[in-house]
Amino acid sequence: MNRVLVLLLFVAPLLVASPAHAHMLSVSHLDVTVGGTADPVRLELDLAVRDLALTIPLDADHDEQVTWAELQAANPAIDKLVARGLEVLRGGIPCRSRVTGHGLRRYDDGAYSTTLIEAQCASAGALSVRYGVFFDRDPQHRALLTIHQPSGITTGIAGPSNPVVAIGDGSWLSTLRSFVVEGVHHILAGYDHLAFLLLLLLPSVLVRSGRTWAPAPNGHDTAIAVAKVVTAFTLAHSITLTLATLGLVTPAARWTEAAIAASVLLTALNNLKPVVTRYLAALAFSFGLIHGFGFAGALLELGLPSGSRAAALVGFNLGVELGQLMIVAPLLPVLYVLARTRAYRTWIMPLISGVVAVLAAYWLFQRLS
């Protein structure tokens, strides 16, 4: 067959003036029912028969008609798929799940195979669901969650960039509490954010005197200067964290991570060869905007509970601030005392900045390649 005409098989669809763009998205429906802490969590997962037919041998005779018998025969394979792609956790510990039944539902866009599951969980801790069925084959696939709790019904969406959906007890206070913890955890585990914070603090106990460093004249002025820098950083990352979490701005994760590494590198280099010696708060603000996008990525991975997004956002922000305070508060007096020594000004501060600069350069290279 003529190559042109063969390829036009695929080009030709492009040529239809008004293509019938499909937009029949692949979705699954997951119902989660939470009772008391001693009660098992009950789940009903509806997976589209069309998605299953593309994933497991469902249409046994390949006649493009899936019968009830074929669906029943495929239940073991469906159970395996579900076991690999669905997990309930309480307090970070996976619950013990078992399949209790199967069925069928007819939605507007076709038939769905239903798997009924019971999960026995640890008695304490925040509940969450991790979903990942089909993500490796279809990055556009989404799970629509409906969560039934004594306090009410909430909804959520799980996707490849946010596979975990947090389930609070439905109250804004519990959501706020759990996300404060997550915020603290994220800043303390975020080595690049910590490095940036450290690099801001290292010269904050010094002042530039000509081409040399001198110790800051007094603790009060030092504390004010540090407060300005940290506040600027906090304000900036809160802004971009909020914008990105609400989906108003969505920078690519790869470039965000690389930009964060670049901000650490530039700040380290500035400590070694001071270019920006005044308006450090402005520098912290500018780079803080970038770090906020990084925090947003982590927050979205946790999954925002649909009914209390504001509480989750505020809580996570508060947690990040608390975590920062946990670093700054003990470190600042130590640095202030050390800054009185010549060693700190001549080699301790430059050495630490140099080591971090090398690490940041490595992170930048890693994140870009």
Binding site: L9, V16, S18, R50, L54, Q140
Partner: protein, 373 residues
């Protein structure tokens, strides 16, 4: 049914984007059919633990082909995931790049698609398929000068069949219906064993007939459907024509057993609204819920179609806003048409001026091209 009531139902649909739970069926007759899979699925079903056809470029093309025919976007999404998993040396081939340009175009990322085609053409200056694809994207984007240049390149001897198709599409878009008709009929007169490509040319002929006021456009659409009665592209084009001709009852008949894709549901909803059918509210509510779900999931439904639904249900301001947003990225015949109708309904001369300015810049006579001044 009163527009306000339909509008209220649509607002409720937006709130209830998460589908209400259907009844759970625990038992059925063993041989009862729970799902009719679209034609072509059997080639894609896994066999022996691996994807039907294997993880290769041919399978990607099969997924895309069935996706286009059936309107099932999950297949295009799977095609993209599979393409990205191909070995680097395969992805770098011309054929693979052409396929990928089509994949990203499917997501309306026309800029990315053009970049990929440019890459193909840097390696193969006289690649007729890539030039033709680029011409079509330029037509959709409303870059008529660039499209004319692409067709000119093909007509200068690179590839005659491609040139015929290109110039016919360009002529149709610019309202040169006599020329377009002649070119398409010349192509149709040549025997072709490629039903998919022939289907496209028959649809084009039907659209030319409809836009130029010929007496029987149906003949061409029916011939296209005779090749494949289930092809959603043919069904959508024919339904659009029938609705435009106010033959709403014929639209309902045509789509009575059609697949439930968004594009076909739109045409059915528009027909039902025009006929004031008892199921019009239900149809429009379900379609609005699908659009709302798409928004909630962070994808963008076809903005032009969503604007059409809003216009038909009396939400003229929202329709105009969406039509204007759509116009920023798509300026094909239907995109311009819905914007003009929305602008007139919302009494917004500013929006009409924007269309006129664009048309003037591209030397397009909107009166000839079917546009309304």
């Amino acid at each position: 049914m009163a527009r306000w009531f339909t509008g209220l139902l649509l607002s409720l649909a937006m709130v209830s984007a998460h589908a209400a739970r259907p009844v759970l069926v625990r038992n059925a007759a063993a041989d009862s059919v729970v799902e009719h899979l679209p034609r072509g699925y059997s080639d894609l079903e896994p066999r022996g633990g691996t994807l039907g056809g294997g993880a290769n470029l041919a399978t990607v093309e099969k997924l895309l082909s069935v996706s286009q025919r059936t309107g099932d976007a999950r297949l295009a999404s799977r095609a993209e995931a599979l393409w990205l998993a191909l070995p680097a040396q395969v992805r770098a081939t011309t054929r693979a790049l052409e396929v990928y340009s089509f994949i990203v175009q499917h997501r309306h990322d026309f800029a990315a698609s053009l970049k990929i085609l440019d890459r193909v053409l840097r390696a193969e200056h006289y690649n007729a398929d890539a030039i033709l694809a680029r011409a079509q994207i330029n037509l959709v984007l409303g870059r008529l000068r660039e499209a004319r240049g692409d067709c000119g390149q093909l007509a200068l001897g690179i590839d005659v069949p491609s040139a015929l198709v290109c110039v016919a599409a360009f002529s149709e878009r610019t309202g040169e219906y006599a020329q377009a008709r002649s070119l398409v009929e010349r192509w149709l007169a040549e025997p072709s064993s490629n039903p998919s490509y022939r289907r496209y040319m028959l649809i084009t002929r039907g659209e030319i007939a409809a836009r130029s006021g010929e007496s029987d456009p149906d003949t061409w659409f029916r011939q296209a459907l005779a090749l494949d009665p289930e092809d959603v592209r043919s069904l959508a084009a024919y339904a659009r024509y029938l609705n435009h001709a106010h033959r709403f009852a014929d639209t309902r008949t045509l789509l009575a057993t059609a697949p439930r894709t968004d594009a076909l549901q739109l045409q059915e909803s528009l027909a039902a609204l025009a006929l004031k059918s008892s199921d019009s509210a239900d149809l429009t509510r379900r379609l609005a819920a699908r659009y709302a779900l798409a928004h909630e999931l962070g994808t963008v439904p076809e903005m032009r179609d969503e604007a059409e639904l809003l216009l038909a249900t009396g939400k003229t301001v929202a329709a105009l806003a969406l039509a204007e947003r759509n116009f920023e990225t798509q300026r094909d015949y239907e995109d311009v048409d819905v914007l003009q109708r929305a602008a007139q309904a919302a009494k917004s001369p500013g929006a009409l001026k924007r269309v006129d300015d664009w048309a003037r810049g591209e030397s397009l006579d909107l009166r000839k091209a079917g546009g309304k001044p």
